[in-house]
């Protein structure tokens, strides 16, 4: 049983990151195109808002104001309060390996992108699946992706995992329905996280929520392979890590399998 679906794609460049919106449709109707154009505009606006409020590089962003001592922002902006409490929770859950206070001030950059993608996804993109013609929606911000599908269809999103050791290749792929997937590596920008000395090269985490996947991928890189393997078991994580010495390690709900076949 093979079904061909058509893809509609748009890329928004914000914060030097490509945000790719893709939807899968049975048929491209005028209505579907209109809906897609609307969602592009909504997403653009949202990302601009997030950049304005949370950029640590903008002198008038909420993050900068908070860092400069204007702590009242935590009560004045519900969004800031939400990010603040989520990042504090993430720090506890990851035993401090995700740490938004690593540089003395508060810097939630490592969480904001995943959170922002998940937020607009749940508020706007998910609603598109109510349309009979639309079978899948996805939003990819620089390699951190949230996906959803119409449960009545057989559609799945195939996500390739970049190979950190060999350019232009992938180490595997996931078939996803409703998931968040995030990858963190040595070259990931904007995480601003202190790392222990380790041969870990890349961490990919799959979870229901992209915020959670993003936090764990970042924490995994910070923790290094040995400690992260303990955290994987304790928190029943799913994903793949790449270590320079031991190669690729696949983990599924906390169970770790060494994959030497590849």
């Amino acid at each position: 049983m093979k079904n061909n679906y058509q893809l509609l794609t748009n890329v928004i460049n914000k914060m030097n990151v490509p945000f790719t919106i893709r939807i899968a449709v049975k048929k491209q109707t005028a209505e579907v195109k209109n809906i897609f154009n609307k969602i592009i505009q909504d997403t653009k606006l949202w990302l601009e808002t997030i950049d304005t409020e949370f950029s640590p590089f903008k002198s008038d962003s909420l993050v900068t104001k908070f860092r400069n001592g204007n702590k009242e922002i935590i009560l004045q902006s519900d969004r800031f309060g939400e990010v603040y409490s989520l990042s504090s929770l993430a720090k506890d859950e990851t035993e401090g390996f995700f740490n938004p206070f690593f540089d003395g001030g508060y810097n939630p950059t490592g969480l904001v992108k995943g959170w922002a993608i998940e937020k607009i996804f749940n508020q706007k993109l998910l609603l598109l699946l109510r349309q009979a013609e639309i079978v899948g929606v996805s939003l990819n911000g620089g390699g951190d992706i949230q996906t959803a599908v119409d449960p009545k269809s057989d559609f799945q999103w195939f996500v390739g995992i970049e190979n950190p050791q060999k350019a232009e290749t992938i180490i595997g792929q996931y078939a996803l329905k409703n998931s968040g997937i995030a990858t963190s590596g040595l070259s990931k920008r904007g995480e601003h996280i202190k790392r222990v000395n380790s041969s870990i090269q890349q961490v990919t985490v799959v979870a229901d929520s992209l915020t959670e996947a993003d936090v764990w991928a970042t924490a995994g890189m910070a923790a290094g392979t040995d400690k992260f393997l303990q955290l994987i078991a304790k928190n029943q994580l799913s994903g793949i890590l790449v270590d320079k010495k031991i190669g690729e390690v696949l983990f599924e709900r906390g169970d770790v399998q060494d994959d030497q076949a590849s």
């Binding site: 061909n4 679906y5 058509q6 893809l7 890329v11 030097n16 990151v17 893709r22 899968a24 702590k71 009242e72 935590i74 009560l75 519900d78 969004r79 309060g81 939400e82 603040y84 409490s85 989520l86 504090s88 929770l89 506890d92 859950e93 749940n122 508020q123 996805s138 990819n140 390699g143 992706i145 057989d154 559609f155 799945q156 195939f158 996500v159 390739g160 995992i161 970049e162 232009e168 290749t169 992938i170 180490i171 595997g172 792929q173 996803l176 998931s179 997937i181 995030a182 990858t183 590596g185 040595l186 070259s187 990931k188 920008r189 979870a207 229901d208 029943q236 799913s238 599924e252 994959d259």
Partner: protein, 155 residues
């Protein structure tokens, strides 16, 4: 002139309060079961919102956010008009099964050149994320595909 500026400012504030309210309304739709605890505290907070930036001394609590790890909200103590302490209140999920709902997704696990797979893959998850960077260019290639033959290679 000053009057006009003041007037415009108050309109701007009113609009921003309305927008905030709208966002809360949107969020509220998804968070159907806020804990009783948080809803009583939220009313406390919306009072402080209407009095703009000047906070009276006391303890204020932000909006509650649902997460897989339980509900969270910020709590701030104001002393002499300034925040003296910030706490994050956590209400762990007492059902106990919140830890066990991670996505089940076994990868099709092969190392090969992307081009061979590109008809089936729609996204790349990677760590090199800049616009025009490595993942960007791989994703660019994938983005050119208009159709997807959505069959599971392992099936």
């Amino acid at each position: 002139m000053k009057k006009i500026i003041g007037y415009l400012l108050s309109i701007a504030i009113a609009i921003s309060v309305m927008i905030d309210g709208f966002i809360i309304f949107l969020k509220g739709g998804r968070q159907t079961q806020a804990t009783q605890n948080s809803s009583s505290l939220t009313s406390n907070k919306s009072q402080c919102r209407s009095t703009s930036t000047q906070f009276k001394d006391g303890t204020y609590t932000g909006k509650s956010t649902k997460t897989k790890w339980g509900d969270v909200q910020v709590q701030a103590t104001i002393k002499n008009g300034k925040i003296s302490v910030i706490n994050v209140l956590k209400y762990p999920d007492t059902n106990g099964h919140s830890k066990n709902i991670n996505a089940k997704a076994l990868p099709i696990y092969k190392s090969e050149a992307l081009s061979a797979q590109s008809s089936k893959i729609q996204h790349i998850s990677g760590a090199t994320v800049t616009f025009g960077g490595f993942t960007g260019s791989l994703q660019d290639v994938l983005n050119k595909a208009k159709n997807t033959n959505n069959s599971n290679p392992s099936a």
